[in-house]
Symmetry: C2
Subunit: 345 residues, 2 copies
């Protein structure tokens, strides 16, 4: 590591070795700093000769613009904050990936904040994240504490809430109705003749919404008892295994189990097999998410398909429109969902 403290000519201790700045590039190119700034941000406004001289200077010095300074001066950080429950969950990672790719085309960088599925973490995270002065913010979910909403609104930047919809978004919402998912899955299973039901779920607010609707739909169809297992907010195969064990301790087979994710569903399937139970005969299973392994479990997983890439893209487009002061035609985008009937239910 190069040493970072040097003595300046004036004898004062500086923090960093004097690095290449806009000014040093300007001196080298024989122009004013302003002109270099223009060459970088509005090259069309600089004479071709000047431009190439500046570009040479940049290349020969290895100048890297300081976006902390640029952002401070212009009040535009070219940063977009994204708050997600977990980056180690493919479902969110794929949305973030498509979102990131799309906004990068317009020169924005995305930085992530992870709540770790802790609802209280969001409040603190929002402050941390706003302190970087993002130009826009991407949130997961539509439930935020009052303080949170207030801070978010006070920031005065475009906001997109994702993975859920609401008639009253903070600004823009891109997602689907979890309640409709719950109703649809209940109807699907009931229509296929299932009469005993269970829910194997991660303890996450959106999963709860689906489960509540699932139970409500079944109640309407005369089924008043739905065993539900909530073990942890983090989806895992292990959680699915334990959930099925829980359900079977309370209810008999055959049972139809609605899971909060495909990973949990895979765990349910594994546990069923370990107990010598067949799917769908003894344990019917519906997953959620349609991750890429869902089609390849044995038997193949019936699940609810969510278009994660579209959520990312539509969110990006909506935010970019706001940032460009373009009209946003619809501020609530429902990307829908689809039940993919495979073998487990």
């Amino acid at each position: 590591m190069p040493t970072k403290k040097i003595e300046n000519s004036d004898g004062r201790l500086r923090h960093t070795a004097r690095s290449v700045t806009l000014e040093s590039v300007a001196r080298l190119a024989g122009v004013a700093p302003t002109t270099v700034s223009r060459a970088l941000n509005h090259p069309e406004k600089v004479a071709a000769k000047t431009l190439s001289r500046i570009q040479d200077a940049i290349a020969s010095t290895g100048y890297v613009p300081n976006l902390l300074a640029g952002g401070l001066a212009s009040s535009r950080s070219r940063l977009i904050a994204a708050i997600v429950p977990s980056i180690a969950n493919l479902v969110y990672a794929e949305t973030i990936q498509s979102f990131t790719r799309r906004v990068r085309e317009s020169g924005y960088q995305v930085f992530l904040g992870e709540t770790g599925y802790d609802p209280d973490a969001e409040e603190e995270l929002v402050v941390t994240v706003l302190s970087r002065r993002p130009d826009a913010i991407f949130l997961t979910g539509i439930h935020h504490s009052a303080t949170c909403r207030q801070r978010l609104l006070a920031a005065g930047i475009p906001i997109v809430e994702t993975w859920d919809i609401t008639p009253t978004p903070l600004d823009i919402a891109v997602g689907f109705s979890h309640s409709r998912v719950g109703h649809s899955v209940a109807a699907y299973l009931h229509d296929r003749g299932h009469r005993t039901f269970g829910v194997a779920s991660a303890d996450d607010p959106r999963a709860r919404l689906r489960n509540r609707a699932f139970t409500a739909e079944l109640a309407e169809r005369g089924i008043d008892k739905v065993e539900t297992s909530y073990l942890s907010p983090v989806s895992s195969l292990e959680l699915g295994r334990r959930a099925l064990a829980d359900l079977l301790a309370a209810t008999l087979t055959p049972i139809a189990v609605f899971c909060s994710s495909d990973t949990v569903a895979q765990g349910v399937l594994v546990e069923a097999q370990a107990r010598g139970l067949a799917s769908p005969e003894d344990v019917a299973i519906v997953g959620f998410g349609d991750q890429n392994f869902a089609a390849f479990t044995y038997p193949a997983l019936t699940t609810v398909k969510i278009d994660r890439v579209t959520i990312g893209e539509r969110s990006a487009e909506a935010l970019l429109a706001r940032l460009d002061d373009e009209p946003v035609e619809e501020n609530v985008v429902d990307v829908g969902f689809e039940i993919i009937a495979r073998q487990t239910a």
Copy 2:
């Protein structure tokens, strides 16, 4: 959205509504801005009464520090950049997650850059990322273009290269030897009696290292032909299926296949089953990564376990030590690996 342009009292058009600044908090608390800054960064150096007055002022104004300004003034952004091939790959996501958690304890925020497995993307990404003036940088892999190395070194910040090791790191390396993995897997399979081999691999430099060593070890054991299929840099189940199809077009069963990831391995397994081939009898399979589903495929996947969380933690610790000017005892950390023998090989 609140409007962003307002007319100031002096009649000049400002970019943002005058927001709450350190200065306004200071005025409210009846102290100098410096004191507020101190209250925030070195609260122990401020009198208790003053401190609480300042905290009240902060609370009542909803002040959120501007870290662009703070970073510019102090030359410490409290930002760490992490460059990864893909965020939608659990293997990297889990490392980043543990890394992020660890450095956050020391007040750093991590922002990600994604190369999309494109080796040329790194060069451009490094510049983009350095323009945010991170205090340290986390890289995936040890292979970087000359320009890249130079820019990285010129930044004068701590660097950790991960997922591989080298005797000559840019600064610090935390990973394991891919070549040793290749040799070990070859030995493992050969020792168990396999004599026909194939490689189903994503086209990624670290996978290539493993494959080369795998082939070399087998050559030493008298096996001079190892069919290898490279189809895409992105691991997917589909890629595994196509890879096995490729291999079987060139070689007969029984075959032992070394895969570049568990996902690819699962694809190989699925394809084998689709063709009515049994594992390990007809197609022996070794995966890579030991992801959580590996123990639950049928038959369960034999694979190479990598401790992704440890890579993240050790990287974080090394970087934090550098940032605190503490001595880093070892600048090359080998976290090792382990072959997990299950059923497919």
